[in-house]
């Protein structure tokens, strides 16, 4: 079943197929309870139609039938329901045990903080030099479990990449752990699924699974400081209170870390494509693209805007 292409549905958030060994048992269970449910609906609809349309001996319409019979329906119906329900409980507990923890110890640990309305992503390491921040796009190596530590940065959010795993809430004041795994390289969409305010709708994310060597290269690139290019002064003075670019005076943490912005395919929490036109539009008037976003409309002269965009486009 998992062999089905995600594209076949053209619905990136569907979960009737899965993209990993972790998702597989849940996909089977989902289909299982779905088919049991459809079966129950068909049986009950059939019995109801039968009961309604069944031929009966002619009688005076208001005549009463005796108060007897029908009890066998209860014993048989409730008996069969009990069997189906108990079977489901057992299957549920088995799947729950299977996906509770990964088979091997995860080597990549990512802390994800839900913020209004974007995802702050931190690749954790015991060595602070190996630790780095990014946002909204998560890269993982295929074929190994990844531990996620979910934190609520302001209100409650919920992390969901349906092709890889079910939801886990990011709640202020607690750290919820879950894990994901991808069997093959690919690119999956996720979305916040706990209502978190006006831009809950545009709080998406992406997970990019790469070969271990591809992931290692990406990681090394993220750890490198971006080159300081022309326009950094405009960025530092107008954007640096909220955004960070490592190695510069811009070290704000209110908005996403933009150190390697051009490595990302999307803007505004995976709700817009990262291309020069959209980027310019986003800086000029963020409220029109994502009404209510915490990103203000910053007053810039034409020259400042030009050098700012050139700078951002250099953040590879």
């Amino acid at each position: 079943m998992a062999a089905f292409s995600t594209r076949a549905f053209a619905a990136p958030l569907q979960y009737l197929t899965g993209a990993s060994a972790r998702a597989e048992p849940v996909v089977w269970l989902t289909w299982g309870v779905l088919l049991i449910s459809v079966g129950v609906i068909v049986i009950i609809a059939g019995l109801l139609l039968g009961a309604l349309l069944r031929r009966r001996a002619a009688a005076e319409p208001r005549a009463l039938m005796p108060d007897k019979g029908g009890y066998s329906w209860l014993w048989i119906g409730v008996g069969l329901s009990t069997l189906a329900l108990l079977f489901t409980v057992v299957w549920t507990v088995v799947v729950l045990a299977k996906i509770q923890a990964p088979a091997t110890h995860p080597r990549v640990i990512i802390e994800i903080t839900g913020r209004q309305w974007w995802w702050q992503v931190r690749y954790l390491s015991t060595d602070p030099r190996q630790q780095f921040d990014t946002a909204n796009e998560i890269h993982i190596p295929v074929g190994q479990p990844i531990r996620l530590k979910l934190v609520g940065g302001d209100v409650i959010h919920s992390f969901w990449v349906p092709q890889l795993a079910g939801k886990m809430d990011a709640i202020p004041g607690q750290i919820n752990e879950t894990w994901i795994e991808a069997s093959n390289p690919g690119d999956w969409t996720g979305q916040c699924t706990e209502y978190c305010g006006v831009q809950h709708a545009k709080m998406l994310l992406r997970v990019v699974a790469e070969t271990p060597s591809g992931f290692a290269a990406w990681r090394a690139h993220q750890l490198a400081k971006p080159q300081v290019a022309a326009g950094h002064a405009v960025f530092e003075s107008h954007c640096g209170n909220c955004h960070a670019v490592r190695g510069t005076a811009a070290d704000g943490s209110f908005g996403p870390d933009l150190s390697h912005l051009m490595q990302r395919h999307t803007l505004a929490s995976a709700s817009l494509p990262n291309d020069p036109v959209t980027l310019a539009h986003w800086i000029a008037d963020p409220q029109s693209l994502k009404p209510g976003t915490r990103m203000p409309q910053v007053a810039l002269t034409g020259g400042e805007r030009g050098s700012l965009i050139a700078y951002l486009e250099s953040l590879n």
């Binding site: 619905a11 990136p12 958030l13 569907q14 979960y15 009737l16 849940v26 989902t30 779905l34 449910s37 129950v40 609906i41 009950i44 609809a45 019995l47 109801l48 039968g50 009961a51 309604l52 009966r56 319409p61 009463l64 039938m65 108060d67 019979g69 029908g70 009890y71 329906w73 209860l74 409730v78 329901s81 489901t88 409980v89 549920t92 507990v93 729950l96 302001d154 209100v155 409650i156 919920s158 969901w160 795993a165 079910g166 886990m168 809430d169 709640i171 202020p172 004041g173 607690q174 919820n176 752990e177 916040c192 699924t193 706990e194 209502y195 305010g197 006006v198 809950h200 709708a201 209510g292």
Partner: protein, 647 residues
Amino acid sequence: MTTAYERRPVAAADTPALRKKLDTLWETSPGFYGWLATVDHKQIGIRYIITAFLFLIAGGVEALIFRLQLSWSNLHLLTPEQYDQLFTMHGMTMIFLYAGPVLSGFSNYLWPLLLGARDMALPRLNALSYWIYLFAGIVLYSGFAFGFGPDAGWFNYVPLAARAYNDGPNIDLYALGMILLGISTTVGAINFVVTFLRMRAPGMSIDRVPILIWGTLTASAANIFAIPAVSLAFFLLWLDRNVGTHFFDVGAGGSALLWQHLFWMFGHPWVYAIVLPAMGMVSDGLPVFCRRPLVGYTVVAVATVATMVLGFGVWVHHMFATGLPGVSLSFFSAASIIIALPSAVGVFAWLATIWTGRPQFTTPFLFFASFIILFTIGGVSGYMTGSVPVDWQLTDTYFVVAHLHYVLIGINVFPVVGAAYFWFPKMTGRLMDERLGRWNFWTMFAGFNIGFFPMHISGLLGMPRRIYTYGDGMGWNWVNLVTTAGSFLFAIGVLIFFWNVFVGLKRGKPAGDNPWDAPTLEWATSSPPPPYNFAVLPTVASRHPLWEDRLQAVGERSVTAKGLVLDKGREALGTTPLDAAPNIILKMPGDTLVPLCLALAMTVLTAGLALMNIIMAALGVILIAAAILAWLWPQAVLGETAEAPHA
């Protein structure tokens, strides 16, 4: 004046002279005063029903507006903030201001008639319950009317609903309105429980009451236990927002999950409270049109109570993704799956009743019979969400939206509309039109399924709840367009219902006392019933007093034409809790403005707290104290009279 505190009432036949005397004793005063002061359960019940339907219209219009916004990707009909207020108001309105109160309305109207009683046990409390409901509804809508509607969802999770993320009066009005509404529901629930225990006709032992009585009783008992949790939650939230406490403030050692526990400890039992009475209506109404008693009365009654008891142990299934430990997830998962069993009892009992009966395809029957399949669809989707690993995918998607609408529309709206057709002749003395009724049913049935069944599919395709728009590439365009079209068709069906009510009132055929040839006591009195319900109090010998002659050739018989005469003032008969043996003559209150004044005083306090106006709040407290004093002021006419011991 002296009152005899011990007296033996006489049994006699119903006479015109007696009716005339009772009329003068029981009739509500004419005019505007009477309208404000009535304590007649029938008037209060109808008021509840009309008010609830007005809220249904409001909630429905809200939904139609945001369905337009969602009918295709990237539409800009509404701003995100408008969308958020609309979906919050829609949920709050339907769940709190329509679904519960409409059942309170039917139960208020029907209970004393079903039980062979003169009124509810506590008529003034009944009036109070209605007035508080009305004023709480106005408080809950007051912010929305000025653009400050609650916008954190009807479930109102913190910290999104905390001051730091939601400034302005929106959430405060929601919190205070809900506390006020909780008082209404609680006093109403107490009234039902007391009425069940004390007001059943002589001989109506607890195994002879209609299933609707079991449904409302169970729901009421549950409400008494469940409402304190949500009232407390809203009160703590109000304190956090206005007084500076930190119950839910994580930064100061509070807990965000505490809100969810308190809310769902109430919320899940409440879901059952707003469906069990409606299931009771079907259990009583459906067999009438199958021309036989319900199959399995006792198991259905026990299943009703069992659902509610289990219903208190499943609240965590709203919180499967909050990071709770695996053991508790397994427990609540199992409980949430097993709770389907008592529902299965009902489904098979109704099916067996139709199968072994002789169905008459009247409009109420169509609504009751279709409910069985809608309930099944809503039931199995609930069973799917009970399985934790599956729920981690399904939760907070449109699959759950589909589920809850099949449950709430399928189990509440369809039976309620069926019940309206069924009992309209009793309430008004006229029948609703059957032809229009068929149009009504088929439009609602088609519209509902076209509108809501595709939500299962958008949910399986991953569409999250509470998003004001979605991207073009998500694959949800067509399914949403169909949903929007279906919801408008459904709305047309509901409009046909209101039109039929209007037509029925204007020129419906006269109904007579018992147009459906139904078996229970409400059909033994005239349509509409006199203010005192029964001139002489009936005595009950079985579950089907009006079918006895035909169901059993020999045996005890219920008596409705002759019975105890209570005509020394407004009197009702109190009976013992289990066997319904008469043991006291209850003196019932007449018209009074005190319940209205008390409800107004509570609203003044609420408004004072909402505006943070200390003087207004203090005035509210003083007025409440004064109204309670007036309520409790001793009155000789309300002295109860014990029945003399039987020889």
